[in-house]
């Protein structure tokens, strides 16, 4: 084709085709493309456009054929090539586009457009070395700064992503040094990249010299330049100078919190190893005085002088809302206190720290952020000083003059929040109840004060409901009275009826409804949070585990689907956006994007969603063997998930959940103080968490490490399942092939090995634990479904390869034990309905999700294994011969003696019948339970929980310590304020009823269990067919 052949068609002829594509009228576009091609058969561009249209229409094979045709004609114009690149990219063959550009660049050397096109192809391929080579070549030819920076970024990416030798960074630095010395920099971003490289090499002085040169003028915001200068001085241990610079910044910008930390670190000569020029360095105080070479006295003196400086800033800000200089005072007192721990002056400094908090309270106690601001300092207050601090704050509330009603209310809220932070196990139940009543009354008052606010605005006292919820949950944890949980639900639902957008209420409700086995209600609230795009990654944890343990599979599927789609879209779009950053000369963003994309690709949430999606597909088959076999086949006989969870992949997982949005009683998925341990919880319970509620959870490092490690184990366990299942389903085929057959040995070894890994994920090492699988000590090793599945898989191996005759009957026995345990909370029969004690109700919250998992996973795997083995043994049920690694596997029936087969069938039949009976009994129990629930669960809850919910309240109720008291206090306060709350709220107070709420809880539990019954039925049908 001629050099211009790619784009030889006149634009006016192409216009209708472009328009049709833009308007997504692909049928029209295809007609136009075909017609134009008939007139211009040599136009590669038209061929590519037709391929593009076909791809959009889903005709991928035809599109690929046309791309191939275009590629063979070796186009050299960028329009054709860039369009071809788009089509190849969409077809999943981006490397083909790189090949086309490479050829074009060879044919037309030194063409900038084509070289940029090639560079972009390499960006899309994440081929950092090739990127560098092309960029260097462009820089050599065209001497533009941007191409040099493209090359430098490519080098940085090789080091950070491809783990290339860090010495390469020196090369990048040398490139920029040369550029800087010869021409200076055109762009601020180029300067920042150079400074970051110098920092990386520890060349702080050079960086400072560059910054103070003319190049530094590229900083248009003066404080940005100063901040960087200060950081570099701090890194190079020039503390005096650094402090001076930070002071200068603070004088210009006295609210800059990060600067206070750096300033104080500088005056105390606390070293920083990294200025963090390029990174998003977290603000953190450096209070490790061992890093400082100063004496205690010297440090104390310097902190005193810093105090003087900060007081000066405070005077300047005396009328504003800038909290910086005032909070900095607490930070200084904190450091003085910590310093004094090394000497003998603890008491006075502790007093000063308290006084600084009181001062801050006087000034900002009315702000919603007060408690968050000082939260980090409260843990330092000695236990014996806490009451006196609270007392001082209470006094402030009464002494401060000029506070509006709103400000006073806000101050009281801050006080309650602090009280909560300081709360201890020694507070009596009555004390907690009193606080709960007090905050709800205050809430009623806040509703009144908020009546003129727009309904979309946050109310003045929204936190009061979460505070009341916290106190009530504390009471629940002490008494295990389920009524308190229901009461919290009532308060939160009422709060949401007043202000429908408060998300802390919603996250609490999701957790509580999940606890009470009401997944549909939890999901309803989750949906109202409009969790989409990146929030899917950070917030799905609220609902993923509850849905895993529910029968609401379509909802579960939708959440999983959204996660997968989010990641798929990110992976598709990321490289193109990196190209935008390159082209816009925002080099720091290039690195950031690649690292971020990488982080998302390693997402734990993504892996979890992938494997849970796969397992859900298997569960959904309800014991239909052929469907399950097809699903497993699609997963390459279960090998695919194994590849997802290699040691390296697991080690690399990134955890992106936003856990601070979780309620304090459930700080991470799988950790919930409300449900009781059944044998042993799957995740670690932290005693500290148990002891102390908190407003905003911040995990300490050890907790994060433990949580992440547990999730790695969990996801690994799940990824093993499909492959083990595949092997387990096929064991019969190997039983009589012969113990010395290499394929059988390999098979046996693989199964044995995977079962050991599965056991290890439950904390069991070696074979010794399998001695007595029915013993209590063995059963304590995990959740019923996991243990049952483990014993099943181990049994497969034993039963088939070692011909243990007792293995299967033992499995049935295990099924019976678990069913007995998990149904023990409800004694129901044809004549006897459920009359639960309080303990029965709370125990049901633990048992029902576990029972559900046992049935839909453990029992289901067993059921399909039995079906599969039967099929293999039935005369006429021969499986096709399979060739495995060169060995022809004869069908089991060919090799198995007829008498053996008959005996085995007999044995299996007996086992199957016995298991069927276990399932039938369970179904029978479930049917009776459902009958009991119908209308009665509501009565049970009303009786135990809201018996007293009638809106009346007297202080005597507090003494009786029963659930309902707090809700009554609220309703009573609201009723007495009727007429002052605004029409909408007034009407709501009159119409809000508890009974419909409890009916919904009952319906949700029932719906879940009805689905479980249906599942059990289909499992039984499958076994009997």
């Amino acid at each position: 084709m001629s050099s211009r052949g790619g784009n030889s068609v006149a634009e006016r002829r192409l216009r209708p085709l472009w328009d049709a594509i833009d308007c997504r009228q692909y049928k029209t576009a295809l007609k136009l493309a075909t017609s134009l091609l008939s007139k211009h058969p040599d136009s590669t561009y038209l061929i590519v456009l037709k391929a593009l249209v076909l791809e959009r229409m889903g005709k991928t094979d035809e599109a690929l054929d046309l791309c191939k045709q275009a590629k063979e004609s070796e186009p050299i114009d960028d329009l054709t090539l860039s369009t071809l690149q788009i089509v190849y990219q969409r077809l999943g063959h981006p490397n083909e586009a790189s090949v086309c550009y490479e050829k074009a660049c060879r044919k037309v050397p030194n063409n900038l457009e084509l070289m940029v096109g090639l560079f972009c192809c390499y960006v899309r391929d994440y081929s950092f070395l090739k990127q560098q080579q092309v960029a260097m070549k462009m820089h050599k030819l065209f001497a533009e700064e941007r191409f040099l920076l493209w090359a430098v970024c490519s080098i940085q990416l090789q080091v950070s992503c491809d783990k290339k030798d860090r010495a390469l960074l020196a090369l990048a630095e040398a490139f920029l040094k040369k550029r800087y010395e010869a021409h200076g920099f055109e762009e601020l971003e180029a300067l920042v990249v150079y400074l970051a490289l110098l920092e990386n090499e520890g060349k702080y002085q050079t960086a400072l010299d560059v910054l103070s040169s003319k190049a530094g003028d590229l900083f248009s915001i003066r404080t940005d330049r100063l901040k960087l200068e200060g950081k570099l001085l701090l890194s190079s241990h020039k503390y005096d100078l650094a402090a001076k610079v930070f002071k200068e910044v603070l004088e210009m910008s006295s609210d800059d919190w990060a600067m206070y930390f750096l300033y104080l670190d500088a005056i105390l000569e606390l070293s920083h190893n990294n200025a963090g020029i390029n990174g998003n360095s977290m603000i953190d105080s450096n209070s490790d005085f061992s890093l400082s070479g100063l004496s205690i006295e010297e440090s104390e003196g310097r902190l005193q002088s810093a105090k003087g400086f900060i007081e000066g800033l405070q005077i300047k800000e005396s009328h504003g809302l800038k909290r910086g200089p005032f909070l900095a005072n607490i930070e200084i007192e904190k450091r003085r206190f910590l310093l004094s721990l090394q000497g003998e002056y603890q008491k006075p400094t502790a007093n000063l720290l308290q006084r600084s908090i009181v001062d801050y309270f006087k000034r900002f106690g009315h702000l919603a952020s007060f408690t968050t601001d000082i939260q980090g300092y409260l843990t330092l207050i000695p236990l014996d000083c806490r009451d006196s601090l609270l007392q001082s704050l209470r006094l402030c509330c009464t002494e401060i003059e000029g506070d509006s009603s709103v400000a006073l209310l806000r101050r009281k809220i801050s006080l309650f929040q602090m009280q909560l932070q300081f709360s201890s196990q020694s507070t009596s139940d009555k004390g907690i109840m009193c606080q709960a009543v007090e905050v709800t009354k205050l809430y009623a008052e806040s509703v009144k004060l908020s009546r003129d606010l727009d309904p979309q605005e946050n109310m003045w006292g929204e936190e009061l409901v979460t505070l009341a919820a916290t106190f009530l949950i504390q009471l629940f944890l002490r008494t295990r009275h389920p009524g308190y949980v229901v009461e919290v639900i009532m308060l939160l639902e009422f709060g949401l009826a007043i202000r429908k957008h408060s998300f802390p209420y919603k996250t609490m409700l999701i957790s509580l409804y999940s606890t009470m086995v009401c997944p549909s209600l939890a999901f309803e609230w989750f949906k109202t949070m409009d969790v989409k795009n990146i929030l899917v990654e950070t917030l799905s944890h609220h609902i993923l585990l509850p849905l895993t343990r529910s029968m609401h599979w379509s909802e579960f599927e939708s959440v999983l689907g959204e996660t997968l789609k989010f990641h798929e879209d990110c992976a598709k779009e990321a490289a193109d956006l990196t190209i935008v950053a390159y082209k816009q000369c925002n080099y720091t963003k290039v690195l950031e994007f690649v690292h971020f994309t990488n982080r998302l690709q390693r997402s734990h949430n993504l892996l979890l969603s992938k494997i849970e999606g796969v397992i859900l597909q298997l569960r959904e088959k309800s014991g239909v063997l052929d469907d399950i076999l097809t699903s497993l086949e699609r997963l390459e006989d279960g090998n695919m998930p194994l590849r997802w969870s290699t040691v390296d992949n697991l080690a690399d997982l990134s955890f992106n959940e936003s856990l601070e949005t979780r309620p304090w009683w459930s700080p991470a998925p799988g950790q919930c103080l409300l449900t009781e341990a059944f044998n042993q919880q799957p995740f670690l319970q932290d005693e500290e968490i148990k002891a102390q509620p908190f407003l905003q959870h911040k995990e300490i490092k050890a907790q994060a490490i433990a949580r992440e490690s547990n999730w790695r184990t969990y996801v690994h366990k799940r990824c093993l399942l499909p492959r083990i299942l595949h092997l387990a389903l096929n064991v019969i085929r190997f039983r009589e092939v012969g113990p010395n057959n290499s394929a059988a040995i390999e098979y046996d070894n693989e199964l044995h090995d995977l079962v050991k890994k599965y056991a290890k994920s439950l904390g069991l090492e070696g074979d010794e634990f399998f001695g007595d699988t029915l013993s209590n000590s063995f059963l304590k090793n995990g959740e019923p479904s996991d243990i049952f599945s483990l014993v099943l898989f181990w049994t497969c191996s034993e039963f088939v390869f070692r011909k243990s005759s007792q293995a299967l009957p033992n499995l049935n026995e295990l099924a019976k034990i678990y069913v007995t345990k998990l149904t023990s909370f409800a004694k129901v029969s044809d004549t006897e309905s459920w009359k639960p004690s309080l303990a029965d109700i709370t125990y049901s919250w633990t048992c029902l999700p576990l029972l559900l998992m046992l049935v839909t996973e453990g029992f289901m795997w067993y059921s399909i294994c039995l079906q599969s083995w039967f099929r293999h043994l039935q005369p006429g049920g021969k499986t096709s011969k399979k060739k495995k690694k060169g060995v022809v596997m004869t069908d089991s029936l060919d090799a198995m003696a007829e008498s053996d087969r008959a005996a085995l069938l007999l044995e299996l039949k007996s086992v199957k019948d016995s298991f069927c009976n276990v399932l039938k009994e369970l179904l029978h129990w479930l049917t009776n339970l459902l009958k009991s629930l119908d209308g009665q669960y509501e009565c049970v809850l009303v009786e135990h929980v809201s018996d007293r919910v009638d809106g009346s309240f007297s202080a005597d109720f507090i003494d009786s310590l029963v659930p309902g008291t707090v809700y009554n206090a609220l309703k009573s306060s609201m009723n007495s304020a009727a007429g002052t709350l605004g029409d909408r709220v007034d009407a709501l107070v009159q119409t809000f009823e508890v009974r419909p709420l409890i009916q919904r809880i009952e319906s949700s539990v029932s719906a879940n269990l009805h689905k479980l019954s249906d599942f059990l039925r289909s499992l039984i049908d499958g076994l009997q067919s």
Partner: protein
């Protein structure tokens, strides 16, 4: 006590407390990344003690000639940091990034009275109504504030007639 710095990708994983607000839109990733890639100076985050994200502003520059202006795509503050003039601080930051701009504009739901009130306090005026601007068919207001370069304040003379989204000059 607010550290204002450039927004970065990792902040997307930490801003749930801001974006759970029902009036704050969570855009798709390519939208955020496009802003970061093209206008990183117009995308800032405010961070407070304990590294809590207090709020953020996301904007861009566009237009030609006397229409060269800054546009506020999103400004949002977490509930506990409201009523501290943080939005004002973030808006001022965007207004002062460049002296070349003639005005700054933004769109707001016609029903979002608290936000409209706040923008008015910051010197913005309703320039025009955009019919059915939002996906739920709700009207939007195009609000503007003239910057010093627009000496005669021509950019903020309100239009009498509403417009439809197709008539807007920019996306």
């Amino acid at each position: 006590m607010t550290t204002i710095r450039r927004f970065c990708c990792e902040d997307l994983l930490r801003f749930a407390n801001v974006n759970l607000d029902h009036l704050t839109e969570t855009f798709n990733m390519s939208f955020y990344l496009t802003y970061l890639a093209r206008w990183p100076d117009f995308f800032h985050v405010a961070e407070g003690p304990g590294n809590h994200i207090m709020g953020y502003i996301m904007g861009k520059v566009e237009g030609q000639g006397e229409s060269w202006h800054g546009h506020v795509t999103a400004v949002s503050v977490a509930p506990e940091y409201r009523r501290q003039q943080l939005a004002k601080k973030l808006m001022n930051l965007l207004e002062n990034i460049s002296t070349t701009l003639f005005f700054v504009d933004l769109f707001v739901r016609a029903s979002n009275a608290p936000a409209i009130k706040m923008y008015e306090k910051l010197g913005y005026v309703i320039y025009r109504r955009v019919l059915r601007y939002y996906s739920n068919e709700e009207d939007g207001f195009d609000m503007r504030k003239a910057l010093p370069r627009d000496v005669e304040k021509k950019s903020v003379i309100p239009l009498k007639e509403p417009v439809i989204p197709e008539e807007l000059e920019y996306d």
